[in-house]
């Protein structure tokens, strides 16, 4: 089922807004997005950006019934959302076409601009239609006639039937004509021959909308409503640089009645970062609301709501999935005779480094009590997941024979339960929905066994790694999956290594110097961040994250099952350290890929 992982039936990109609304779950992020200001949603693939953006449209708002807040929002949302999905074809320069077009100076940018304009024009047509038919229910053809004549004139369309549906067709026909025109230019243009492009190439969507929207409001008599218009550009990371720059700069000003709602990858590319460093760049708070869709405080609660919605019945989730002792917050974990206590005793028995660790903390291994509350809070709580994992995986760790692991294949004791399920997807709804749907097939008497939960989590984990293995790497010498593999193994070595560490390294900081960590690796990291394989930590809610170097990341929890890691964020090691002497694990290249500078 590899290919269906991202491309699941629950991918909002492929759903109509009204379908998205049917199972929409309210979140704090949505509340931020519906405010009367510019907003930028940042997050990895599958984190729900498209769902939020599509929820701003009229068909979605009118189809949303499962929340008592829907009625109020439908009535009071302060703008009309115009949903515009970025198409990877917009970025002519990053595609192979550019070589053919480069002999025509500036043509690739003009074609790119034409492609964007055409799609924005169709998007505003859809919004007009939705307002007219769903919100206003105004079937007065004279109004549509007047509007369409204005559109034909403003967009320099060929004469067509003055109905919005025909206007959309005329835009498609013009796209087809432009395709033929470009093809003819490429193959039959003679050197020094003057190229004369039709005048519609000079249009820009912003000025065009600034002209058209007031006309629409006047014709349909909605000027008095004082609603703004939000251009919702989704998946901007695929957009050409010129458009990203234009839109981010637009966050500073533009016309009072136009808002921008943009969605993009968690970390903006170095190219676009320059926009933020100049005096005209947007600043959070003043100009724009930033919505970072990862590591949010309510992500576990949000995940539980998704699980409840997709598991199919309204039972107590603990009864369906059970609880996991490793993460259970139950106070009786820290009592003599508790499961945790037994694990501690087991581990003392077989792991000399744990015994040494306890002794170093002034704890007699023969007298484990939980009576000291400071010790309970500062030590036992912290070491609990590590104790469970070492006890599960280590058979023996002594000075004479070294470290020996158990040959266990299924770690369902560690990876099951509602605590694990609500945590392991880092709040990414698409992964979670896919996993829960798979698990639902294992429901028996209202429960899903630990084994089945583990099997599905492991499958999802492997699928995710496989997806990463297929991400194109350009000229890089290392694949994204190889990078993940190496980082995961480094963390595993920290948690399950010869020495018991209370605070093992389990996150990484990207080295600042390119001599220590080559740019090539950083380029792959960008891809990993945008796919959700690496998740940014220690960020500031109110600022854009513009550089990857110097930042701290965690590996997506979904990979932790592959490396036997507890679902916790531990201290950071330098990425170069994690990759030290990394061999090409996939044998794609020979020799050492990367070596820390000495």
């Amino acid at each position: 089922m590899t290919a269906d992982f991202f491309n699941s039936p629950y991918n909002a990109r492929h759903l109509e807004p009204s379908e998205v609304a049917e199972r929409f779950i309210w979140s704090d992020n949505f509340e931020k997005l519906i405010q009367k200001n510019h907003s930028v949603i940042l997050g990895a693939r599958g984190c729900g950006k498209t769902t939020l953006m599509k929820m701003l449209t009229i068909p979605a708002l009118y189809a949303w019934k499962n929340d008592k807040r829907s009625e109020v929002i439908r009535k009071n949302i302060p703008f009309y959302g115009v949903y515009i999905s970025t198409d990877i074809y917009w970025d002519v320069k990053n595609h192979t076409y550019n070589k053919q077009l480069e002999k025509f100076e500036g043509l690739s940018d003009r074609i790119s601009s034409f492609a964007v304009n055409s799609n924005v024009f169709k998007a505003i047509c859809n919004t007009f239609l939705n307002i007219i038919t769903i919100e206003l229910e105004d079937l007065d053809e004279t109004k549509e006639l007047e509007l369409c004549l204005s559109l034909i004139e403003a967009w320099k369309l060929k004469p067509t039937v003055p109905k919005i549906v025909y206007i959309k067709e005329a835009i498609d026909e013009r796209i087809d004509e432009v395709n033929q025109l470009i093809q003819d230019l490429i193959f039959n243009h003679k050197k020094d021959q003057h190229i004369s492009l039709p005048s519609f190439f000079n249009l820009t969507f912003e000025s065009s909308l600034e002209q058209i929207i007031p006309k629409f409001e006047r014709i349909y008599e909605i000027s008095g409503r004082k609603k703004k218009w939000a251009l919702c550009f989704d998946e901007l990371e695929f957009a050409p640089y010129w458009l990203q720059e234009k839109l981010f700069l637009s966050l500073r000003s533009r016309k009072q009645f136009i808002l921008y709602k943009l969605s993009s990858s968690p970390i903006l590319t170095p190219e676009i970062s320059k926009t933020f460093k100049n005096d005209f760049g947007p600043t959070s708070g003043n100009d724009v609301e930033l919505i970072k869709m990862w590591d949010s405080k309510d992500s576990e609660d949000f995940s539980k709501k998704i699980i409840k919605s997709y598991i199919g019945f309204d039972n107590d989730l603990s009864k369906v999935f059970g609880n996991n002792d490793v993460y259970s917050k139950s106070a009786n974990s820290y009592e003599i005779g508790s499961d945790f206590h037994k694990k501690i005793l087991n581990l003392i028995e077989k792991d000399f480094s744990f015994k040494n660790f306890l002794n170093s903390k002034g704890i007699n291994e023969n007298k484990i009590t939980f009576s000291n509350s400071k010790q309970k809070d500062e030590l036992y709580r912290k070491i609990k997941p590590i104790v469970y994992h070492r006890d599960f995986f280590i058979e023996k760790n002594n000075i004479s024979n070294g470290l020996k692991f158990r040959s266990r294949k299924k770690s369902h004791e560690l990876y099951h339960g509602i605590e694990v399920l609500s945590k392991i997807c880092d709040g990414n709804p698409r992964w979670l929905i896919t996993i829960v749907n798979q698990m639902r097939g294992h429901l028996k008497n209202g429960k899903i066994s630990k084994n089945s939960q583990f099997d599905e989590l492991l499958k999802a984990s492997k699928r995710f790694l496989n997806v990463m293995a297929n991400i194109p790497i350009g000229g890089s010498v290392v694949t994204l999956s190889a990078l993940i593999e190496r980082i995961g193994l480094s963390f595993k070595n920290q948690v399950l290594g010869k020495t018991f560490l209370m605070d093992p390294d389990g996150t990484f900081e990207v080295d600042k110097e390119s001599e220590v960590l080559p740019d090539d690796i950083v380029r792959i990291l960008y891809k990993g961040v945008s796919q959700g394989a690496f998740i940014l930590l220690d960020y500031n809610d109110d600022t854009f994250d513009l550089e990857i170097r110097g930042k701290r990341f965690k590996l997506s929890y979904l990979f932790f099952i592959l490396y036997n890691l507890p679902l916790r964020n531990y201290s950071a090691m330098d990425l170069s350290e994690a990759l030290k002497d990394i061999k090409d694990v996939d044998n794609y290249n020979q020799g050492i890929l990367f070596k820390k500078g000495s």
Binding site: Y97, N119, I175, D176, I182, F187, N466, N470, I473
Partner: protein
């Protein structure tokens, strides 16, 4: 020029003809000259040219074959300009042996013939493919690029994408493009039967997850039946065209790729994508099954000066 028609022929249909050009690709494969050796015995070939990537690939001064280094597909257009401008006839026959060619080379050639304003009445191209013996697939190289084949520019509409993937027998390639393009609709095609059943079992094994995921969207075709391939793709095109932007990713056998390319010329809203591994590709010996077995496609291009 426009495609007037195409038909599948046997090798015997190529005897006693005059060909203005025999175009082939020179690489490490054992089948490089198989078709040339056969056709040169039964017909007259006026000029033979071997395109190659670099100097190292050579036929060691084969007396009748002119070698030409091609660094990018644009150079093919330049070469074709020069070649066609040198001819005086109005109706010509050429042979393109695409057995060892990279997709972008024969895509460029087909686009050139269909888009270039030329003074010929007709150009008849005989596309020849020499099937090879089975060789076990190597471990797939990482995907370096997933992109449209260069040559045809398409401004997108707001239609969602439908992807038609023809599976190859290496792992990961099809999954890579499905994830990358994230199409709304997908159809999976693969060759069954192939000329050697081992190809089929390997395709099914290495793509088992895709085949189980999309089991209601799978179409098989006989590898050597170009008409069947054309019909399957054409009916998919008509099924999808109104609702979707159609992309074909021919990751499987080259005859399928050729038919896809020809259809992308016939139906201008089809685009062709590839999954590339850059220069770090797996190299196979590709020994011909025998010297009499070929898949031949005759395509007649006629002038469109109307």
């Amino acid at each position: 020029m426009d495609i007037k028609y195409g038909e599948q022929l046997g090798v015997e249909d190529l005897s006693n003809k005059i060909f203005s050009l025999f175009l082939l690709a020179i690489n490490h494969e054992k089948r490089v000259l198989t078709a040339y050796n056969k056709i040169s015995k039964i017909s007259e070939i006026r000029k033979t040219v071997g395109f190659k990537y670099n100097k190292q690939q050579s036929l060691n001064s084969h007396e009748n074959i002119e070698e030409c280094i091609i660094k990018g597909y644009e150079e093919i257009n330049v070469w074709l300009d020069t070649f066609f401008n040198s001819l005086n006839e109005t109706d010509i026959n050429i042979i393109v042996d695409y057995s060892c060619m990279t997709k972008s080379w024969y895509y460029t050639l087909v686009l050139y013939l269909s888009k270039k304003n030329m003074s010929f009445n007709s150009i008849t191209v005989f596309f020849i493919y020499t099937p090879s013996k089975y060789a076990s697939p190597l471990k797939p190289k990482p995907n370096t690029e997933i992109a449209p084949l260069p040559g045809k520019y398409i401004v997108p509409t707001d239609k969602p994408k439908a992807l038609i993937v023809c599976l190859g027998y290496e792992k990961n390639k099809a999954e890579g493009i499905i994830e990358h393009l994230d199409p709304k609709e997908k159809y999976i095609l693969y060759s069954s039967p192939a000329l050697d059943p081992k190809f089929v079992s390997k395709i099914e094994m290495n793509n088992s997850e895709i085949l189980s995921t999309y089991r209601d969207k799978i179409i098989t075709f006989p590898m050597d039946d170009l008409l069947k391939i054309e019909r399957e793709l054409t009916s998919l095109y008509h099924l999808l065209r109104k609702q979707y932007s159609i992309i074909i990713a021919p990751l499987g056998p080259k005859p399928f790729t050729l038919v896809s390319i020809l259809l992308s010329v016939k139906f201008k809203d089809i685009d062709i994508w590839r999954v590339g591994s850059g220069y770090n590709i797996n190299e196979y010996d590709r020994e011909p099954i025998n010297s009499e077995l070929y898949i031949i496609n005759k395509v007649k291009f006629i002038t469109n000066n109307y």
